[in-house]
Amino acid sequence: MRITQGCFSFLPDLTDDQIRAQVQYCIDKGFAVNIEFTDDPHPRNTFWELWDLPMFDISDAGAVMLELAACRKVHAGRAYIRISGFDASPGWESIRISFLVDRPREEPGFRLSRQQGRGRSLRYTTEAYSASRPEGQRY
């Protein structure tokens, strides 16, 4: 199941040139660009791991592409990788843009579980299959 998230989620996966152009846009706008990865693509999972450090003070997308290549070397094929742009100009940092740049080879998708409550009420929850594997197999 192909999971989409964030900006451009309605588009096919971006090519490297397109990623570079988007990153350059972020940099030109003065955002700090981050590369993050996770194996748990649940939409409410806000705790993606940061690759390297946030990239402040860079002026060319080449730097981000370099780090992305390094991150892919380690995580390509088994993790979701996304790029986000933090905007600090209002005085507090907020994400202005965030888009997926890589995805695992196999995307098992989500499991829907139902919890039966009192009086025949049902509560639904989703859970990523990839996050349900035991510890040793997950990372």
Binding site: D57, S59, D60, A61, G62, A63, L66
Partner: protein, 304 residues
């Protein structure tokens, strides 16, 4: 080539136009105008620019030419304009389309080499990332390599630099700068560095007349001028300063002028009567002659 031939390439190509259109010529003219002397350096830069402009045309016409190596080494004594030329070079490369941004990041050993194990690589990478799309200017690059200490972290920084210089050739240009003889030693002990550097530019010392011209220009930029006696004094000053250690060409001149302005201000403050507009802008002989340089040269070298 078969697909190319249908396009009917233009008969002649105007190389001059290539330079003016890309505004590289503008920067070259600026270089000529703003920097006094340095004839050999300017000639060398023009050669490099000619080659790059030619490459650009060739690439546009589909004649194979791979991305050239652009890393450079600027050697020369302090204050001979290495950083200034580096800045101009960054702009030229940007105008010709060899650099995407054309900014210059100037660093020394401190910025690249860490203080403990594992500190160097992230630090060097951080700087390299900042320099992407522009020029990384490493001042006194030979300090990166410390021969006497084989466990020095500088070696690690050099390795990362070499790797990026090779693989990210179209992302950034590295310029190493420093004294000629120490740079030679550095290249000798790091042959990998030498082979990755395409252009070696040597910066000669300024002549007496050139230093005078530089001084005049600096003062004009600050809306000062020298009185005739001041000119004589400054000429004597340059002659004396040259003989002393740590002479840093144009930088020494700038410092000397800064101190002369200080004395100039002081001299007028100590006078009771109001000063004229002329006094305000004229640096006179006493402002220059009060320099410590004259005492030293009298004691050490000049018997008269």
């Amino acid at each position: 080539m078969a697909t190319r031939s249908t396009e009917a390439p233009p008969e002649t190509i105007d190389l001059r136009r290539e330079l003016t259109e890309t505004r590289a010529q503008e920067v070259l003219d600026e270089l000529d105008r703003e920097l006094i002397g340095l004839a050999t350096v300017k000639a060398r830069i023009k050669q490099i620019v000619a080659l790059l402009a030619m490459d650009r045309v060739r690439r546009r016409l589909g004649l194979a030419s791979e991305a050239p190596t652009l890393h450079m080494s600027f050697t020369g004594n302090p204050g001979t304009g290495k950083t200034t030329v580096g800045l101009k070079m960054a702009r030229i490369l940007h105008e010709l389309g060899y650099l995407r941004k054309g900014h210059l990041v100037s660093v020394t050993r401190d910025d690249l080499v860490g203080q403990y194990v594992g500190h160097t690589a992230p630090k060097t990478k951080e700087i390299l990332k900042k320099a992407m799309g522009g020029v990384l200017f490493i001042d006194e690059a030979y300090y990166l390599y410390r021969q006497e200490n084989e466990r020095d972290y500088g070696q690690e920084a050099i390795e990362i630099l070499l790797q990026v210089m090779e693989n990210q050739r179209d992302d950034l240009v590295v310029i190493v700068a420093g004294y000629a003889n120490r740079m030679d030693q550095f290249f000798h002990s790091n042959p990998g560095f030498r082979s990755r550097i395409a252009h070696h530019v040597d910066f000669p010392d300024y002549t007496h007349a050139e230093l005078m011209a530089i001084a005049t220009r600096m003062l004009t930029a600050l809306n000062y001028r020298l009185s005739p006696a001041g000119v004589v004094a400054l000429e004597a000053y340059i002659g004396a300063r040259r003989q002393q250690p740590h002479f840093a060409n144009a930088r020494s001149i700038r410092n000397a002028l800064d101190r002369a302005r200080l004395r100039h201000a002081n001299r007028h403050f100590e006078r009771a009567e109001p000063i004229s507009h002329d006094d305000l802008v004229t640096i006179d002989a006493p402002d220059v002659l009060a320099s410590r340089v004259f005492d030293l040269s009298r004691i050490i070298e000049r018997p008269d």
